[in-house]
Each structure stands twice: as C-alpha cells, then as structure tokens.
Amino acid sequence: MKFPAFAYHRPETLEEALHLLADEDARPLAGGQSLLPMMALRLAAPTMLIDLSEIAALRQSDIGMDRARIGAMVTHADNAASFDIWARLPLMSEALHHVAHPAVRTRGTFGGSLAHADAGAEMPLVLTALGGHVLLRSLAGDRRLAAEDFFLGHYTTAIAQGELLVGAEMPVSPLLWAFEEVSRRAGDLALAMVASGVRIEDGRCREVCIAASGVSDRPLRLTEAASALIDRPLDERTIAEAGRIAAASITPRSDIHASADHRRALVDVLVRRTLTRLAQGDC
C-alpha cells in the first residue's frame, strides 16, 4: 500500500532535529527500512517525519582499542565493510551479514535497528551480548542506558518523548565470539539466533556469555547456561549440557512461524553450534 500522508522535515544539525522532535507528533526517520514498511502496512501512521539522513554527526563512529562508539545513522553496509569493526567487534561484523538483504543493508541503519527493537533482529542481540549502552539525547540532556534497560519488549524501548537515539557504545570484548541463526529464508527475521562468547585459559572457560534473540520479546542473556561452563573445559559433554540448560531456561511463545518447542530446540542447537565453533577455533 501507499504510505499515509505526513509532513516532512530534513534538518541538517542535531540541534535542529531535537527541536523538531520536541513536537509530540514528530517521529525520526532513519534509513526507513522498518518504519516505511510499517507505514505501508498501516501498522504506523506518523503525521510528521524528521529525516535524519543529512545530519553528519550521526554518521560518525569512533572505534577505539577498548571501546567502540557507533553513530546511529551508519548503515549496516558501511558497518559490515568496516575493517575496524571486523577487528574490534567481530561478533557485530559476523551478525551484520545476516541482516536482511544487500539492498536493505545499504540504507538500513544501526540506530534505526536498535530503536525499532524487533525481537528477531540482530543488532539488539549484539548490543545485549556485548553489554553495550545506547546513547540518547534530547533538549533536556543526555542519557546512557544499558541494553537491558533499553529493550523493554516487542518494538518497545525506553526512548522518551523528545529523545533521539544518537548512537551506542560497546566495549571491545576480550572474549572470542560466534554467532548463528536460523531463519526460514535468507534475510528473513530469524526464528532464533544465538551469540556465544568465551575466554578460555589453561583449557578451561574463565568467562562465558551466551545470548539469544527471536525467542522472547527482547534479547536475553542466558546466564544459567553460561555459568554452567565456568571453570570447565569446552568439550562435547559441557557443550551439550549448556545447550540443554539454555533451552530449558527460556519460555518462547508459539506463533505462525514456529512453535515454542521448535524455538527451544533451535536454541539448544544454536548454542551447541556456536560453542562447538569456539571449541574448534572457528571464529
């Protein structure tokens, strides 16, 4: 369908954008790869769109040795092509290749994906797995929220009226990471996805993080499964155990795409796949 009618403003500075967003009818338009389909399907009908595409400050990233800050308006394609992200945030680099299709990645943005907060999307999981923070700005000032305080449910975040997501920060992780997902067709939103990270010393796991998405209304850290691996070697037995614990620790919902049991089984498989890759050094 055609988009419902809306007024349009394309500010050139962040300051201008924040003033426009103070209007309660205003909604930011990032790459439009989620918002515009929702408008075409009449799931959303904002009456005023603030196009962020000309704001240079939102396209800047700073990938340091310990910490990476990525601008909200950097496209998935640009992040996927970034050597610095590949080197310092390999989990993000790997996950980006699963985001939709090439012709969507050229326009879809990192910040747009976080703010849209689809439970089947990759970037919210990456931010959660790495323990990242989103950076929010309004005329009243700045807020820095941890991923778990930001994602509140399906398409629901802690962004307040008048606030704009300007970017996100993630620590450069000392863990090795692997990402796997299952979707019905290439580029579809995933039925389930898992990111696993380990730091192994003297043949034993010293730090472990396992996170899953697509199986709840927000990205989840599977702490029970991760704890079960601490101070133990990563072998066939412990990997199988972690998969079982991970699957038992979630309560997915059934929908037309997959039943709850199927999603639980997928998480078991994906946890084992990611951990097996990490055990084999395939990451």
Binding site: K2, A5, A7, Q33, P37, H101, A103, V104, T106
Partner: protein, 182 residues
C-alpha cells in the same frame, strides 16, 4: 532545511540515468512511484511495496536500494540509475545480454530489480563465488525461473568482465556488437 507539509509538493532535483531531472511530489510518494509516475520510468517495478520482493531495486549513488522504501523527495541530490539507464532499446547491456542468453527471465517482472542487484554486486565484487552471488541476489524474488539461470547469468557476466579486464576481449565489444560486425 528541506520541509513540506503533508499536502504540499516538494521540488526534487536528481541525476537520473545520467541526466538532471526535476519533479515535485508530496512527502508520502515513494521513490518508486515518483520515478514511474513523474518521470515515466516504468522499468521500476512496484511489487509488494514494503521491501520484501525486490522488484523495485534500483541503484542510488551506485548502491542497490529499494525504491519502495525511499521517499521520492529523498532522491534530492542523488544519482539514480534504473534499468532504463543500463542498456538501450536497440542494444542491451552485457549483463542484460547474459540474462537473455541464459533464459534468466520468463515473465520479466522481477528482472529490472534483479539487474540492479547484479550490477551492484559486480561493481563491488568483480569475482564473486556462486555462493556470494546467491547471497547477493537473495533479496530479489522470482516466481518463474527457479533462480538457477539467474545465477548462471550473473556468473557468466562476472567471467566476461574479468576476461575484459584481463584484455581477452576489447571493452567495446558486446555480444550484440559482435553479431552486427559478423
């Protein structure tokens, strides 16, 4: 700042297939509809109109994008290339020729989007593996061909470009031109 009320048209100037073009549309008009309705570029196909089918894929500043998931007024200052800018009525571009040779289309509705995705792939990665070509073309749906011949055509064109780059065939010799010269 560029602004328009919901019922107001905004003048938009873009380079379209190498020429400066102007059109004025309301904010709600998609780029696909603006190109078709205002500029008569009916090679841009409107299929699902929400970014799933890929039929409206065009090149914006050299990158493949969905024309149904952009606003017409967002074309302002951009370089747009549609299938009309690929070859001419009398002479197909080599990529189009490869599609014809491999029977990579039946009804043809998806073809202009397929060509845009293939063009963007080969511009960025001149020597894709078959797997990379499949991944790059995965956002374009075809209900007729079953995709194998489409990937065959893309791989054939990649091989031709590499041969051309390596000097095996002169750059101005398309299969059509060869035929004309006998």
């Amino acid at each position: 700042m560029r602004s328009a009320q919901a019922d107001e048209r905004l003048e938009t100037i873009a380079t379209v297939n190498g020429e400066e073009r102007r059109f004025s549309v309301a904010p709600r008009v998609s780029l696909a509809d603006a190109l078709r309705g205002e500029l008569g570029l009916a090679g841009v196909r409107s299929g699902c109109e929400h970014g799933i089918c890929g039929a409206c894929t065009i090149l914006v500043d050299g990158k493949a994008m969905r024309a149904c998931l952009m606003l017409g007024i967002q074309a302002h200052g951009r370089d747009i290339r549609t299938v009309e800018g690929l070859g001419t009525a009398g002479q197909l571009a080599p990529l189009q020729e490869a599609f014809r040779r491999h029977h990579a289309l039946q009804c043809g509705f998806c073809t202009s989007g397929m060509l845009a995705s293939a063009q963007a792939l080969l511009d960025e990665n001149p020597a894709p593996t078959r797997e990379e070509a499949r991944e790059a073309m995965s956002g374009n749906l075809c209900r007729c061909t079953g995709y194998q011949t489409i990937i065959d055509a893309v791989m054939d064109e990649a091989a031709r470009r590499i041969a051309e780059r390596d000097g095996a065939i002169p750059s101005d010799t398309s299969p059509e031109a060869e035929k004309a010269h006998g």
